[in-house]
């Protein structure tokens, strides 16, 4: 076996460029996912039946179909309907964000439902509206509880973002493929790509652990 260290060193800058793009997709998709997830998660537990159904359909659909198919739907199928080419960057963020939103919705729903019912009753009996009680009482408490599963979801999303390489978007995985096409260095490049992914996911898990510790305040009843 011959491991070419020079190849690793030489291609590292390009791979890091790709990693930068991966981070960008992940961060933006997480932002989209959290906003959607919070909305859909609340829809799923609100008292308005049609909204609850809508939320359930959303989760079922985007959790029940492969992300890869969703990327194809946005990038290849959507233009057929609209007649407009879809920007790969938009397609990447949209499909990853929408997909992640379904998982985040379930995380938030479970987090909110884990808060003692007495909290909602206390808020409502003070004259606060449902929305006010959610905002000031329930969600702040739920947020602390969902930090660990949210961390998992973000790590999964970072790795899944490699799928957008199929639409030619040059994130880390795609960069690796392109370099291999020129140099045939499968071993060196895939090894480097794996190490870079690992470095990124470990960073997230450390950060999540920090958040968990930071917000581990006195919130037992």
């Amino acid at each position: 076996m011959n491991f070419n260290f020079d190849l690793v060193v030489n291609s590292f800058p390009l791979l890091l460029l790709g990693a930068g793009v991966t981070i960008k997709i992940t961060v933006l998709s997480v932002a989209v996912g959290v906003v959607i997830g919070l909305l859909v998660g609340i829809m799923r537990i609100c008292s308005i039946l049609p909204l609850r159904w809508l939320g359930a359909i959303y989760v079922d659909f985007f959790r029940g179909t492969p992300l890869l198919v969703q990327i194809f739907l946005v990038y290849f199928a959507l233009p057929v309907i609209t007649g407009q080419r879809v920007d790969p960057f938009f397609a990447a963020i949209a499909s990853c964000g929408i997909n992640s939103g379904a998982y985040v919705a379930e995380i938030f729903r479970a987090g909110i439902q884990s808060i003692d019912e007495g909290q909602m009753e206390a808020g409502r009996s003070l004259g606060m509206t449902w929305v006010q009680t959610m905002r000031y009482i329930i969600i702040p408490q739920a947020f602390k509880r969902v930090i660990p599963p949210l961390g998992n979801e973000f790590i999964a999303l970072l790795k899944d973002s490699s799928l957008v390489s199929v639409i030619g978007f040059e994130e880390l995985t795609r960069r690796g493929q392109l370099i291999i096409a020129k140099t045939y260095g499968s071993l060196e490049i895939w090894f480097s790509v794996a190490v870079i992914y690992l470095a990124m996911t470990l960073t997230i898990s450390r950060f999540v652990a920090y958040l968990e510790w930071r917000y581990k305040t006195d919130d037992r009843n």
């Binding site: 909290q119 808020g123 009996s125 004259g127 606060m128 000031y136 006195d218 037992r220 009843n221």
Partner: protein
């Protein structure tokens, strides 16, 4: 202050409240006793619409509770104290008390803080303003919960077994606060198992069993000369 007519409440096939009438006058202290499962907590919770009655009428301060009434407006005037305190664990004691006045009554922060400190002083916890609920004993938490309800300056206070979750040595401090409140002329409806307190502080005693008011009257009278067999049987067990 509170007017209830022919109140029924069912969960599925189980009828918990079987037609209750009650009028609570201003400054009156009504104490509700009865065996567990008799529907007394459900009855109390119908008074601020935490439970939606199956049928019947509940009127608070002249407003009939129902889908069309602004229930939040009514709840502003009806303080509630729960068996399990239900303080907001992510907020300090004083924040717990200040939240609703600021968000609902739209008073300024400084005014809310002033009121909160006065109330904490009244329940004897001024020095714990910056503590979190789980740093307090059960009795202290319940006193904070009472202060939190009072911060909305309610016209009526509802107490749902406020001392049932407390260690025995802490019951007294909570009852003392409630007694003071009654002396100051607060209208109160109290569900409790504290018979001594019911007798001493109550203006009227209701004995509720199987979803109905079986007997009511002056507490001393009911305790000493219960008319109904069920009341006698219950009192002989708890006194």
């Amino acid at each position: 202050m509170i007017e209830i007519k022919d109140l029924h409440k069912s969960y599925g096939d189980v009828e918990v409240l079987k037609g209750i009438d009650l009028t609570v006058n201003e400054k009156e202290v009504v104490v509700i006793i009865g065996p567990s499962g008799s529907g007394k907590s459900t009855f109390l919770r119908c008074m601020n619409y935490l439970e939606v009655p199956t049928s019947g009428m509940v009127k608070v301060d002249g407003i009939e509770l129902g889908k069309d009434s602004n229930i939040n407006k009514v709840r502003e005037e009806v303080g509630m104290v729960f068996q399990r305190f239900n303080l907001f664990p992510h907020m300090t004691v004083i924040e717990n008390i200040m939240l609703a006045p600021i968000k609902v009554r739209h008073v300024s922060r400084s005014e809310a803080e002033k009121t909160a400190m006065e109330l904490l002083d009244r329940v004897g916890l001024a020095d714990r303003a910056a503590a979190y609920p789980n740093q307090l004993s059960g009795g202290q938490q319940q006193r904070v919960a009472i202060a939190r309800a009072l911060a909305m300056k309610p016209k009526v206070m509802l107490f749902d077994e406020p001392t049932s979750a407390l260690d025995p040595e802490m019951v007294g401090e909570v009852l003392d606060v409630m007694r003071k409140l009654a002396e100051e002329g607060m209208t109160m409806v109290i569900v409790t198992h504290e018979m001594g307190f019911a007798r001493e502080v109550g203006d009227r005693l209701l004995f509720v069993d199987e979803g109905k008011i079986l007997e009511q009257g002056d507490p001393k009278e009911v305790f000493e000369h219960p008319k109904e067999e069920r009341t006698k049987a219950f009192l002989s067990k708890v006194l």
